[in-house]
């Protein structure tokens, strides 16, 4: 009972180390994938002010328009491509197959901005946008689910009972860093989605790519002042939009995960220390209770170092046990945290090995003093101990 309370400290400490490392690794991997997936020079402009929306809730009117996007690419020198976008989830039908998926409106430069080549056919053109053409480009998952192995190009699908001709198929991209299937989507000219599918005139977002990764700050400034001007915002009035940069978003994620790591690291440190003190306590009590036994062992020939070794091994076994339980506890907790908290986590054998090593070291370090005390007992006095 005594022992189990003590190794609880070790369990928590080691568990915290595992969670800390796996979340840290997960965040790094997430960020790398994110940047790889979207690129370092892509900006997203959304029609809400993040701060504003958070504090007062959305006001309802979306002020971002496709014309804004056109103006941005024309007048912001650091921006080279834009693609207005709007998105909805709906059912797409082919013959007697149907599939509910995300239907996104995009401009002709979407492909360039997202660096997403086609597998077949052609992409949306400015012409398609101008005439609100009923055409669409399908992602791999949609193709698999509606067409099987059939070539979908030039076939017709129905959305909201309106026929659309498939003009192209996107190459496979896989899962997004947040775990969504990027191939599960249908692209159409944004004008088409606005008018024919959603019946709206607003724009959900604008994707923009900057000339280089370095010019993104310049671009953010240019876009912000341009939009403020176009939306007639007075000085001091908050933006009714937000320009998000992938890189900054990623570094925010990294920052937050670093804070998490420091927090967990502190928990780990304190817990391991507490656990260690507990071990020292247990070993002090144990060696005292076994003074007679130590005397007997010395009488039959045990040397000081034999006794030292004997009790050091005992304390290390105790702490290792805590380590093993802590590792299992840590693995379980990091899975829990990433499932419910949305934090990505990556378990590595290295972190497990390090955590186990740590638990051993705690046992050796905190067990040393009691073991040494025991090894220096005088056999005659020890044998007399009651």
């Amino acid at each position: 009972m005594r022992s189990s309370l003590t190794i609880l400290g070790i369990v928590i400490g080691v568990g915290a180390v595992i969670v800390m490392v796996s979340i840290g690794q997960g965040a790094k991997a997430f960020v790398e994938k994110q940047l790889e997936s979207l690129g370092t020079n892509v900006l997203i402009i959304i029609p809400v002010s993040i701060t504003h929306a958070a504090s007062r809730g959305t006001t309802g009117t979306i002020t971002l328009t496709a014309e804004d996007a056109v103006a941005i690419v024309k007048e912001c020198s650091a921006v080279n491509y834009v693609s207005p976008g709007v998105r909805t989830t709906t059912q797409v039908v082919y013959g007697n197959m149907n599939w509910t998926t995300g239907v996104s409106g995009a401009g002709q430069d979407y492909q360039i901005i997202r660096n997403w080549p086609l597998e077949a056919g052609r992409f949306i053109t400015q012409q398609d946008v101008n005439i609100m053409a009923k055409v669409c480009v399908l992602g791999q998952t949609v193709v698999t689910n509606l067409f099987g192995t059939l070539d979908p190009v030039d076939k017709w699908v129905r959305v909201h009972n309106v026929p659309f001709r498939v003009i192209g198929v996107l190459s496979a991209k896989g899962q997004s860093p947040t775990g969504q299937d990027q191939d599960d989507m249908v692209l159409m000219p944004y004008t088409t989605v606005q008018r024919k599918i959603m019946g709206v005139t607003y724009i959900g977002y604008v994707l923009a790519s900057t000339t280089t990764a370095e010019t993104r700050f310049e671009a953010i400034d240019q876009i912000t002042s341009l939009l403020r001007q176009r939306h007639r915002l007075k000085p001091g009035e908050e933006n009714d939009f937000t320009v998000i940069s992938q890189v900054e978003f990623a570094s925010t994620v990294l920052e937050t995960s670093r804070t998490m790591a420091i927090l967990l690291g502190s928990i780990a440190l304190v817990s391991l220390f507490v656990g260690g003190i507990g071990i020292m306590n247990i070993m002090l009590v144990s060696t005292t209770e076994r003074t007679r036994e130590i005397g007997i062992r010395m009488a039959v020939g045990a040397k000081g170092k034999d006794i030292l070794f004997q009790f050091l091994i005992e304390s290390t076994v105790l702490s290792s046990l805590g380590g093993i339980i802590g590792i299992m506890f840590g693995i379980f907790t990091s899975k829990l945290v990433s499932y419910y908290g949305g934090w990505p986590s990556l378990l590595s054998p290295l972190s497990i090995a390090v955590a186990f090593l740590f638990s051993n070291m705690v046992g050796i370090f905190f067990g040393y003093y009691p073991a040494r005390k025991a090894s220096r007992l005088n056999p005659i006095e020890a044998l007399r101990y009651e």
Binding site: G295, G301, K303
Partner: protein, 242 residues
């Protein structure tokens, strides 16, 4: 030469603050291989201290102690431990067995520290157990045994390493008279048949009679050193009770 123990003018002096207490005040004696010696004396006479010095649990403050011709009086703690392991065996009044280990593990304890346990050793242990009437008790724990059995396990442990000298400190102190006779015959038998030199500390004269030589201490010095009265007796007794 046959002297396995030589004590040359041995003193053991304790300093209690300013006062010096001499537990051993100039002891000189010799013992030959195969002797069976009893050491007697009132409490405070120094018999425990003499036992500790002979048993290499402690070193003399002055004087020399030669064990099998080797001077051990200036040995380090580690060297003394080595000697205890290889050449000495102890039997205590309160048995001093490890309560959480089995009989076999108790007996093999000295072997663990001499870093040699082989199948032969296990065979030897079983043989010793048979000789001492402990057959079948290998996996028992000390608290499952009677006092007499426990003391015999302690004796087994003391002889497992084939020691030159066996030291018994009031070995029958915690036993009734019948069991005491038992244990004493075992010791006599070991001395008689295996030639193990035995030094026995006791305050009971009838126990001391099992030995062939009685040394009486007083105030840290040898008062008497004489052959015991019943020095012809025990052999037949030993055969009978085993």
């Amino acid at each position: 030469m046959n002297d396995i123990i030589v004590l040359a003018d041995v003193y053991k002096i304790y300093e209690m603050g300013e006062v010096k207490v001499a537990a051993l005040n100039g002891i000189s004696l010799t013992m030959k291989k195969g002797e069976f010696v009893a050491i007697m004396g009132a409490s405070g006479s120094g018999k425990s201290t003499l036992m500790h010095i002979l048993g290499c649990l402690d070193s003399p403050t002055r004087g020399k102690y030669y064990l099998e011709g080797v001077e051990v009086s200036r040995f380090s703690k580690n060297e003394l431990a080595e000697i205890r392991n290889k050449k000495l065996g102890f039997v205590f009044q309160s048995f001093n067995l490890l309560s959480r280990t089995t009989v076999v593990e108790n007996i093999e304890l000295p072997l663990i520290y001499s870093k040699r346990i082989s199948k032969n050793d296990l065979e030897r242990i079983y043989q010793i157990m048979r000789t001492l009437g402990l057959e079948g008790l290998q996996k028992h724990y000390p608290n499952q045994l009677s006092g007499g059995q426990q003391q015999r396990v302690a004796i087994a442990r003391a002889v497992v390493n084939n020691p030159t000298l066996l030291l018994a400190d009031e070995p029958t102190g915690n036993l009734d008279s019948a069991t005491s006779k038992d244990v004493m015959s075992v010791l006599t038998d070991l001395n008689h048949n295996l030639g193990i030199t035995i030094v026995l500390v006791t305050h009971e004269t009838d126990i001391a009679q099992y030995a062939r030589r009685v040394i009486v201490l007083k105030d840290g010095k040898v008062l008497n050193d004489t052959p015991s009265q019943a020095s012809s007796a025990p052999a037949s007794q030993a055969q009978a009770s085993l």
